[in-house]
């Protein structure tokens, strides 16, 4: 009983991490139609900001609060300077953002060297439920993921900003004609996606420690999750991330980790092949 519970918790917390990473990727892919290869590096930047704050003697949580804003602002600038040119051609956008990601990753690698740097958990210790102990920080990540998911959903479905974003997504020409500044909306959406990635990086750095290839680890899983979930809505990528995260955490419990690792990708690609629109089809929130 206790071990089942531990397994379930592990699966849930890993699923939450994947969802958190994919949220930003999914929003950019769905709302703007480009797959951002630099997303993993935004995660890395968020982690790096947290580490910087910690190494300068500030409390870890202050870095975590600051990371989304800094990375978001950085994303906004990048969008205005570079990404904006790529919207017409999705493949060129992939290559361009790949080049951007390469630059960011190598700069960070130059700054931290080839080390694995650890950042302590701002909330240490464990929570005891009956006889089992679960890591308090992982539990916090699950809670924050749920809160962020809810907040994003409300932002996109209930606020006037969300309405503008959705209008720009569905019919840019009409949105422009109605007086919505579509370039500004694109910039804001990209910045928002980047900020979510920054938050993800800040939250997971105590679990995975900081190293230059931190982002790549999640990038491909993120892409697969977005494809499985379906591009074009907010819910789709989140659902996809839930499925992929749960599968990749759950399968190693019942078969050899190597086989499980590959099987997740094979299953996902096969699924997308036969259902190209993904789990949840259609546009909207």
């Amino acid at each position: 009983m206790a071990s089942t519970f531990v397994a379930a918790f592990e699966i849930l917390s890993f699923g939450a991490i994947i969802v958190l990473v994919v949220l930003g990727l999914g929003i950019i892919a769905s709302m703007m139609g480009i797959f951002n290869f630099a997303q993993g590096e935004f995660v890395l930047l968020g982690a790096y900001v947290t580490y910087l704050a910690y190494s300068h003697g500030m409390p870890v949580w202050s870095g975590m609060v600051g990371a989304p804003f800094l990375v978001g602002a950085f994303g906004f600038v990048l969008e205005a300077l570079i990404i904006r040119r790529f919207y017409a051609t999705p493949i060129v956008a992939m290559l361009g953002t790949y080049a951007l990601g390469l630059i960011i990753r190598e700069v960070v690698r130059g700054l931290i060297g080839g080390f694995y740097l650890t950042v302590p958990e701002p909330i240490g210790g464990s929570i005891d439920i009956g006889t089992v102990h679960v890591s308090a920080w992982r539990f916090t990540i699950i809670v924050i993921t749920l809160l962020v998911m809810g907040a994003c959903y409300l932002l996109l479905s209930r606020t006037s900003f969300g309405l503008r974003v959705r209008a720009t997504l569905e019919n840019p020409a009409l949105a422009r004609a109605s007086g919505i500044s579509t370039p500004l909306i694109y910039g804001a959406t990209f910045a928002f996606g980047a900020a979510l990635a920054g938050l993800a990086g800040a939250l997971i750095v105590p679990v995975f420690s900081l190293f230059a290839d931190l982002g790549i680890r999640f990038l491909i899983q993120g892409f697969v999750a977005v494809m499985v979930g379906g591009v074009g809505s907010f819910i789709g990528p989140v659902a996809g991330a839930g499925v992929i995260g749960t599968l990749s955490a759950a399968l190693p419990w019942i078969m050899s980790p190597v086989v499980a690792d590959v099987l997740v990708f094979v299953l996902a690609i096969a699924f997308v092949k036969f259902r190209p629109q993904g789990l949840i089809a259609g546009k909207g929130v």
Binding site: G96, L102, I103, I216, I220, V258, I269, P276
Partner: protein
């Protein structure tokens, strides 16, 4: 260019000849990607899957079955690349619903990543360390080891494959491929089976990548998981984009420039070279989407023309 390549081993020191051989083999690999992306417009972000799996395949042949004859291992490498690309390409490209460009690019990327993970975790394939100390390729009693002979072997194969590719892209088939890249719907309206065309060129690309992979494995003497993974997959994309996709010579030039500069800089500026590479690549993508070759060649060269009439017209125009 060919003349320079021919005399190169005579003037270079030994370790530079080894480096030049590596560049020639990688150029062969770049050619395979250029055929798939530059001509047919299929974004194969996992070309290393065919390169690396052929490398692993011939390494296993040499290790477990003691087969090192050049007459067997090179065709075997090409065949492995062909088989894998047929499998993956057939799955991704064929079918009732035509696949989107995004799906194909992410699908190939995922395939390559999954292969990387598999190679890392599978003990039979050597895990993280790969397969070290592969014995040399042989022909009868002769052993091909690193040096001028291997260089000429690789160069000869590159030239032959280059000429074959040139013949291919100048044929009716190649024209249809360029049409696919420019406007797929229109080619479909002409009655071409676009999905079949794509699958064929993808497989040809896979076979060439496999050939390059087997040459590479025997040249380096070992294979390791990165060879099938995302790192090498994206590297080949960089070569071709940098040199100029959609021209065969662009792929070769891009490989030579990137590898050459990286070799030259790596002594002093090893740390910042990837950053410079990223910046250069970004500039090329933003301002010269057709690559460095577009400084010399016009856009019309990429689209291609066919037959005697087209040639006359071209001559008249120039």
């Amino acid at each position: 260019m060919l003349i320079i390549a021919l005399v190169l081993p005579l003037v270079l020191e030994d370790y530079l000849t080894v480096f030049a051989t590596r560049v020639v083999i990688l150029a062969l690999f770049a050619l395979s990607f250029d055929l798939v992306w530059g001509y047919a417009g299929i974004m194969s972000f996992g070309q290393a899957l065919f390169f690396g799996s052929a490398g692993y395949g011939v390494a296993l042949l040499a290790r477990d079955l003691d087969i090192t004859s050049i007459l067997l291992v090179l065709p075997a490498g090409a065949l492995i690349g062909l088989a894998f690309s047929l499998l993956l390409g057939g799955f991704l490209l064929l079918g009732r619903n035509p696949s989107s460009v995004i799906f194909v690019s992410l699908g190939t990327l995922t395939g390559s990543y999954a292969a990387d993970r598999l190679a890392r975790g599978w003990y039979y394939l050597g895990g993280q360390n790969g397969i070290p100390s592969i014995s040399s390729m042989t022909l009868g009693g002769y052993e091909f080891s690193e040096g001028p002979v291997y260089y000429y072997l690789a160069l000869a194969i590159l030239v032959v494959v280059y000429l074959l590719c040139r013949f291919l892209v100048r044929s009716q088939f190649g024209l249809a491929l360029a049409g696919l890249r420019e406007n797929e719907a229109r080619i479909a309206f002409f009655g071409y089976q676009t999905q079949h065309l794509k699958a064929i060129v993808f497989t040809v690309g896979g076979a060439i990548a496999g050939l390059a992979g087997s040459l590479y494995a025997f040249h380096e003497g070992f294979v390791w998981p990165n060879m099938v993974g995302v790192v090498v997959s994206t590297q080949v994309v960089l070569y071709v984009l940098f040199g100029g996709s959609g021209t065969l010579i662009g792929a070769v030039i891009g490989t030579a420039i990137i590898e050459g500069v990286s070799f030259w800089l790596s002594d002093n500026y090893r740390d910042i070279w990837p950053i410079i590479l990223g910046v250069l690549l970004l500039l090329v993508i933003m301002f010269r989407p057709l690559g460095l070759i577009s400084f010399v060649l016009g856009e019309r060269e990429r689209v291609g023309s066919f037959g005697v009439k087209a040639k006359e017209k071209r001559d008249a125009a120039s």
